[in-house]
């Protein structure tokens, strides 16, 4: 018996540049007591669907063009605003992606958790609201709830804030909970706990949940049924098992195929485009000659890091932060070392310290028989060509005021790799082509490109100086899975054709396994385990490694 039935929902955005059909005739239903996962990439319309249900969209430029959503006798889309407000927070609640920005920083936690009850249950006294709020906070796992409830949001960690949001959403015992990417911003171990919590609460409080995510692994972990959305439409619907084992729509097949899992053995990933264009399934596999190289000794290290320490003193309270605490690594030439860990473990700082973008407190970084840490800025100049980095955020990685041609020519001219405009331009064009773009993009500015394209431009810029070693710092973490596959393939190809060595930093264990020959696991500034990729994933030695691997959604 469906508790919510969405019929032919159409939500369009009317802007000066045109009309976007964010949700284009979408229908599905939510059964009582189930967790329904809505999966889609950016632009799929998954979030807009839920915002439409609760009337949270700014009505210009958004407009609900059609459809009806019967809920308990009312049509949610055409109900009186006053009644809609009574449903929000009382019968249907919502939690969002970024708990820090979603909680009011100026009000205490207890105050915010009490609010829905006080607003929707006219008979409730402040005492009753207080009791229920604290009870709810305890239920979601906040220890010492009575005391901690008087804190402000910024005093809590990310995971705890999300628990607070869940408590706040469930305090009125609503029928339905809409969850918009609630774990995307969290570490993988924290995410695992929150997913477990949601499943428990669903049973305990008899809530039906709509769980929006882009991560297929998460959906496999938490949902009963799945709806897959693409470009504003529903392309497939079914139980988790049905979707994962027997997908029907080419987009879904492509989506499942293009994400690296622990079981992936091919060197290249199929992309969603392959499936949408009708190429027959998964033929792009070339099994890695993985088993053989395990016996070979690793090649000479291109970069050797010895006892690297990077310590910061916090300016406020003069506490010493040991971001990188005695790290030693060997990065073999022509291979990829994956550096994996949760947020704050120091992996990003390590990458930057190797490149001398951050000053090491002590330790050595050997490249070409020189200790880079001992060199001055001027002495480092020739090495800058050899060691490059690609960052996580493609939106911030390019100077917004420079054209692509300027941005790519600058390093070439600065390092005198080419002389003269014509030669430089030819080189820039060939770089663009190598990363899958073209000469027509020369005169454009970064903001005219999509995220995936911008990341390719960053790769092109790094390649411009003919490096031997590239640090990939979470460079696919901010991307949709389908784009991620393209960029990973690109990195692979370039490694083969230019004999590049990579240090691949990421928190995503599946991606790291796919990309790396060797893996180092980091925690709190130290290397916890280090081995070939196969060994680390098949036979983890350390408890922390085992915990990390177990927490990956969909692999458990």
């Amino acid at each position: 018996m469906p508790i919510l039935d969405i019929q032919n929902l159409k939500t369009y955005f009317h802007t000066r540049t045109g009309t976007t059909k964010a949700v284009d005739d979408v229908s599905f239903s939510l059964e009582k007591g189930e967790i329904l996962g809505i999966v889609g990439e950016s632009g799929s319309g998954k979030s807009v669907t839920c915002y439409s249900l609760l009337g949270l969209l700014p009505q210009p430029p958004a407009k609900i063009e059609g459809g009806c959503v019967p809920f308990d006798g009312e049509d949610l889309l055409h109900v009186d605003p006053a009644i809609q407000r009574k449903i929000r927070g009382k019968r249907i609640s919502m939690i969002f992606q970024d708990p820090m920005s979603c909680l009011n920083p100026y009000l205490r936690i207890l105050d915010q958790v009490m609010e829905p009850m006080l607003a929707h249950e006219p008979g409730a006294t402040k005492e009753q609201a207080r009791e229920r709020a604290i009870e709810m906070l305890k239920k979601v796992g906040i220890a010492d709830a009575e005391e901690r409830a008087h804190s402000f949001p910024h005093e809590f960690s990310g995971g705890m804030r999300q628990r607070v949001m869940i408590a706040m959403a469930l305090v009125t015992h609503p029928d339905i909970l809409l969850a918009d990417e609630p774990t995307t911003a969290l570490d993988v171990t924290v995410q695992a706990r929150i997913l477990r919590l949601l499943k428990e609460l669903r049973t305990e409080l008899d809530v039906s949940v709509i769980f929006i995510t882009h991560d297929l692994g998460v959906v496999a972990e938490v949902a009963d049924r799945v709806v897959v959305m693409y470009r504003g439409k529903v392309v497939e619907e079914g139980t988790v098992r049905e979707i994962f084992d027997t997908p029907k729509h080419p987009y879904v097949k492509g989506l499942l195929a293009c994400r690296p899992t622990f079981q992936t053995t091919s060197r290249m990933l199929p992309t969603v485009e392959d499936f949408l264009e009708g190429k027959t399934t998964i033929e792009v596999q070339e099994p890695k000659p993985a088993k053989d190289t395990q016996e070979e000794a690793p090649p000479e290290p291109l970069i050797e890091v010895k006892n690297l320490k990077v310590h910061f003193t916090q300016s406020k309270d003069h506490q010493l932060i040991k971001a990188v605490d005695d790290v030693s690594l060997k990065i073999p030439k022509g291979k990829t070392l994956g550096l994996v860990g949760e947020s704050g473990c120091g992996k990003t700082t390590t990458g930057r310290a190797i490149l001398q973008l951050v000053k090491a407190t002590s330790g050595q970084v050997f490249y070409d028989n020189h200790d880079l840490c001992q060199l001055h800025r001027d002495q480092l100049l020739p090495y800058r060509k050899k060691l490059q980095i690609i960052f996580q955020d493609p939106y911030a990685s390019l100077n917004p005021r420079m054209t692509i041609e300027q941005a790519l020519s600058e390093p070439i001219r600065f390092h005198q790799i080419c002389t003269g405009r014509a030669e430089t331009r030819d080189r820039v064009v060939s770089l663009l082509e190598e990363v899958g773009l073209s000469a027509e993009h020369l005169r454009r500015y970064p903001h005219e490109f999509s995220g995936g394209q911008r990341q390719r431009l960053c790769v092109a810029r790094a390649l411009a100086v003919e490096p031997e070693f590239i640090v990939c710092d979470e460079c696919v973490s901010a991307m949709d899975v389908s784009i991620q596959a393209q960029v990973l393939n690109l990195l692979r190809n370039l490694q083969d054709s230019h004999n590049l060595t990579y240090l691949f930093i990421s928190h995503d264990l599946s991606v790291v396994k796919f990309v790396s020959d060797y893996v180092a696991v980091m925690k709190a500034g130290k290397i916890v385990e280090q081995n070939t990729a196969e060994d680390v994933y098949r036979n983890p030695h350390q408890d922390y490694t085992k915990e990390l691997l177990a927490a990956v959604p969909g692999e458990g």
């Binding site: 060509k385 490059q388 911030a396 903001h447 999509s450 995220g451 810029r461």
Partner: protein, 323 residues
Amino acid sequence: MATAEQTSEPQKAENMHSAPSSLSKDAWLRMKKNKVAMVSLGVFIVMIVLCFAMAWKCKDPNIINLTNKFAAPSAEHWFGTDALGRDLFSRILYGGQISMLVGLVATFVSVCIGVTYGSISGFAGGRTDAFMMRVVDILLSIPFLVLVIVLQAVLKDWSSDTSAWFVETLKWKKDFSDRLTNIIPLFFALGIFGWLTLARIVRAQVLSIKEREFIEAAHALGYSNSRILFRHIIPNTLGPTVVYATLTVPSFIMYEATLSYLGLGVKPPNSSWGILIKEGANYMETHPELLLLPGFFFSLTLFALNFLGDGLRDALDVKASKD
């Protein structure tokens, strides 16, 4: 707030058919749609043309004609005459020259000092930055007008001495030299204390840009510090700087008027809008137009500049990445 979701990759590729557009061009297009701002721009341009170009064609504002005091508007005197029979219209235009010159030049000086100071402070970081900002904080806490008045008092006699020097050594015309040295102390006083907030704004910009990945990439590519500061950081701070500069001009014009009203600003034979308003206030009850007309021109210019600044701020406020 929920907005249209990020456009998906294929959509973005499709959109790239039109001509390339830089951020500045986008901002200008946005501003063109803001009617108030465009009208304000028009008014400001008209004002400049009036005061600087047309003024030459008008009568001499200093000719005193005591037989024709307080005349009503006529073909000869478009706005009539003032208490000393001087043509009001040309007085207003000439007054506008001084007021706007003070506003624009003092703003220019402030911008130069402020941008330099702020970007060096922000880029240097650490102790240097902390010290430089402490200085700014302290100077900002001091009442601006108080200091400007004191500075003006100090520089009062300087102007006549310097004027004499200009006439003797550089052989400038005395009249021109007098007028110039008369207003220089004002430029000085405003410029010396007017750059503080701009420095803060520029520094805040530099600090946040400094941390962005494209600057780290520039470091990784081995670029020198000066290249990074001048080619990469400063061009990206121009937005707020332009907005603030546009809003500084009217506030400086206001300061000039205030000082003139107190007798500490521009002196005769120069006349600024501030002086005209002050003189007009004396005859407020009998001949309010002597107060209202200069007041109107003054306020209109300030309105235009303020709305223009607001328009610029709205146009430039959209985040750099359009997704």
